[in-house]
Amino acid sequence: MSPTDSDSDHNKELLCFVLRLGDSTLIASQRLAEWAGIAPTLEEDIAFANVALDLLGQARHLLSYASQLEGKGQSEDDLAFLRDVNQFYNYTIVEIPNGDFAQTCAKMYLFTTFLMLLWDHIARGADQELKAIAQKSINETKYHIEHFGGWLIRLGNGTTYSADRLKEAFEYTWPYVSEFFSPDPCISRLAPTIEIDLAVVQNLWLEEISPTFLAAKLPTIEISRFISNGKIGLHSEHLGHILAEMQFLQRAYPGGRW
């Protein structure tokens, strides 16, 4: 294999990972933005919108890096607005419905704690572009974890009713975390540029969430055997609906600017 072949192979692996992150943050942002205008309080409305905008900012950096890696002249907007369901590589958990407030907080907590560990690994890696994105995002993600984690603790310690609703939220969202740690050629081939051992990450993640689970009076559950596959492009029925809404304008008025 010539050096250029291995270079382009490496680019392909990196592209797969960058798209994964870009799509996950983009879809998480789009979902969270659905709360705008209907969150329980005005203050929470603004808080959710802020988090959604942070995630959108991260997605923009990641997708524009992806378009650069891909080198086919597709812009970040083309990647966001012109790909179809099976070309998105986000983790399934970010596309599942928001449900009630508890369910949104639950899935966002599970996702952002995992994302934080990815940023940590990327920041220690050798890819300068991705490293810069990670370093910028770490502070944002830290705040998101605090915000959603804080709500889990409040809901878990509120009334028996709020604690029950929170438990239900976890029963619904928890099965989707196994996808974070399932075998992942895209991540394992990143080494040595970025070293991510998913078995290690899983332990770190369980350690990270356990104090919050304890404080929120949530039982620790085993990682489920059900594995969703959004990260390889096999999505739940929900992503199509998200894209329909998100992509409508660019599809109906190609190249439209405003």
Partner: protein, 112 residues
């Protein structure tokens, strides 16, 4: 969403209903840079102080307006009564001896 909040009250036992936290009003103070004082910027609703800080950060320092935030439950502030303004503030206006009007500066003092 609306149904959710309506059913909340129906599904709760009496004991739980007592526990439902009511949101509280907080006053927000922001220090715009080190060395300056905290200034009142507005108020917001939150269920506890920690949440009030989060909301204050989201609502009032979105464009890096500050380096430090204080939140204070509004109920902790004792305010003067606007109806008593005449007795509280007006007596000051005709007491010119409280101003340095009649103080003569010694000639030797040049840089005051």
């Amino acid at each position: 969403m609306r149904e959710i909040y309506l059913t909340t009250a129906v599904n709760m036992s009496g004991k739980d209903q007592d526990k439902v936290a009511m949101s509280e009003l907080f006053e927000v103070f922001v220090r715009s840079s080190n060395g300056l004082e905290h200034r009142h910027v507005g108020s917001l609703h939150a269920y506890d102080a920690e949440m009030a800080l989060h909301h204050a950060r989201d609502v009032y320092v979105r464009r890096s307006e500050g380096v430090s935030i204080w939140v204070v439950p509004s109920r902790c502030i004792t305010a003067s009564d606007p109806d008593r303004a005449s007795s509280l503030f007006e007596p000051m206006s005709d007491k010119d001896f409280r101003y340095p009007t009649y103080y003569h500066l010694p000639e030797r003092v040049k840089n005051l």
